[in-house]
Symmetry: C2
Subunit: 428 residues, 2 copies
Amino acid sequence: MNLSRPALLTDHYELTMISAGLRDGTAERHCVFEVFARRLPTGRRYGVVAGTGRLVELVRDFRFDETEVAFLRETGVIDAETADWLSRYRFSGDIDGYAEGELFFPGSPILTVSGTFAECVLLETLILSVLNYDSAVAAAAARMVTAARGRTLIEMGSRRVHEEAAVAAARAAYLAGFGYTSNLAAGQRYGIPTAGTAAHAFTLLYEDEKAAFAAQVAAQGKNTTLLVDTYDISQGIRNAIEVAGPDLRAVRIDSGDLSVLAHQSRELLDSLGATETKIIVSGDLDEYAIAALAAEPVDMYGAGTAVGTGSGAPTAGLVYKLVEVDGRPVVKRSENKATVGGRKLAVRRHKPTGTATEEIVVSQGMPEQLPHDRALQQSYVVGGEPAALPTLVESREHLRQCLISIPWEGLKLSGGDPAIPVTIVPAG
Amino acid sequence: MNLSRPALLTDHYELTMISAGLRDGTAERHCVFEVFARRLPTGRRYGVVAGTGRLVELVRDFRFDETEVAFLRETGVIDAETADWLSRYRFSGDIDGYAEGELFFPGSPILTVSGTFAECVLLETLILSVLNYDSAVAAAAARMVTAARGRTLIEMGSRRVHEEAAVAAARAAYLAGFGYTSNLAAGQRYGIPTAGTAAHAFTLLYEDEKAAFAAQVAAQGKNTTLLVDTYDISQGIRNAIEVAGPDLRAVRIDSGDLSVLAHQSRELLDSLGATETKIIVSGDLDEYAIAALAAEPVDMYGAGTAVGTGSGAPTAGLVYKLVEVDGRPVVKRSENKATVGGRKLAVRRHKPTGTATEEIVVSQGMPEQLPHDRALQQSYVVGGEPAALPTLVESREHLRQCLISIPWEGLKLSGGDPAIPVTIVPAG
């Protein structure tokens, strides 16, 4: 379900390049573009491919209506020939790439777009916007899931990021293994379970905390979460159990030293007979804060700002580069010499135990396939038509399996090298 | 022009609170919520209010259609009474706040929302999403504008952020004083001038650089910008002038040590007679990199990633807090004691020379007005109806004037205290 028209979510220069290329016919040359990261954010050991499912729908809807073409004409961005071409535009090429939930490393060709220069270059901005944001969120969220060691995570960062980015962030966090989101649009669009009960404002609305808790329990029953830190946490917990009884599902603590408070709260709940009542903590949690609570009696984490902003790496650093023109490999000469032209195929190599050891990326050829290799690319779009894709739940399971497969050092939160090396084999 | 339906861009708990409050009537209590920042991002000296113009349109369109209500009912988020209430929902309260382009500091009440609890709490998530993102971008962009010392800036970061966030970022950067954006949707929706000519891919598409330059000049004339760093920059500049002649408008350099390259390129251009040809530089520029180029012969900067991601502060830290219920000030007791309940009015105090000295914020009362004080709040929505707002160009000029008015230390890029203090006067 796309809610906005994607065609103008595009950089001006994509259209001036098309205008120039259409005049002399070069815009019709067959090209291959690849999306990859030159490096991971500082200290990160893997990236997570996310957003491709969303992207395929946007590519399908990428058409210019009369108003958009008129805007481009009137502002002088395009000439008459380009206006005519755009009004008939529909991507008719192929898109292949790594599955959503797949890990990537510097040089992994995570998306390959082939077709004429014009039809492919036109998608550059949108492709990078979607993949850079969603992958940044998914990578940060995956680290939080690792840090949570099996405890459930709730994504609640919508208010910290652009309102539509929030929906994409909820999707990427769920892909990464979060259990719930607070974002209702993500629930509607993607079927992600949503969660939420009450804010401090609800408690402040009533004469006292007990009245607020009573109103909440009257509406939602005991299977709810009472927020106990509006005034005094110990008294809040006593009030919660007094009002809801020891069968209350959960309390939430959103401030203070969560490590100390979780411990004290557990003891107090147990002393009140609420031994099954869960403790949910929230408040500026990132992967490090979550890891620091591993030994505390916490049942669930709410994470917000750090999810939607990529926990220090708000964009994934993915670029979209022309690698082939009419079958000829091309490369920008002045850049890092490691860049290799030509369309690439990739496999991930594993030990017989299933542990990944290396990624092999071959330009203009087939990688040798060893027994435990896994080919990394799948079809997303064939001749302009979207291919059948895994569900979001399947992609989520795929990522879970990928994270099991990397060497254990790759799951450390501390800074270090990529979990596995990528070997790029040039053409010829 | 809103392109998506905003009602579900909302946290689940806003609706469970409304459900609970409607059962006992408390949801109809008259409330005042305020948006403010407890602190600025580390080292920042001011915040910039941005997004309110966008927000007012979203509030106007904030309605629940049948599909949305059905989704909320079927998933058990709301009960039947709340479903009925939501299907009739339309914000009927008042929204006041600081103008777009106004500066803010810790404690500045930048937005005040009043009405029933239910109608106000429902807007919390959307209000914070819009203001947190747009203000984060505007503050970073304003620092870049200061660093550029009058030279023109082009926002070209769309590909680094969520595709819809990119449009909001272009708007916020223009508000902050950028001259152009690469984002076409921002051009269409907000009338912001767009710019762009060609990427490295365009040069790679042709047999050689001169052929690519010739194609671009044939399409766009000499009043274009040739990207000269695909192969060798010196040869690129020679090729550019050979093809376009010394009247070429500009060359762009997107890689390498821009300081050295700008200097060498200026000398080379001058030696080729292209003394009027401008030099545009781009490539991971933030406010510090821009400042470092102040003495170099650069004419224009292209800034991308750092703009859309807030240059290290991707969210503005704004919160939405209930401060008054039926005229009674309320405050969450366990937090920082500096928090003051009650609806607040704000003025900025100035020296007779026009330099700002202090912000005075009074709870439940009128600030004393001295001769050079300026009241900071204006009407955005009155009784549910949007008020007349300044244009984006007017808001841009307002910010420019505000930045002139703060003490000069406030414009330093280095870390430090807020440019002026905020004095909050409690009620009574």
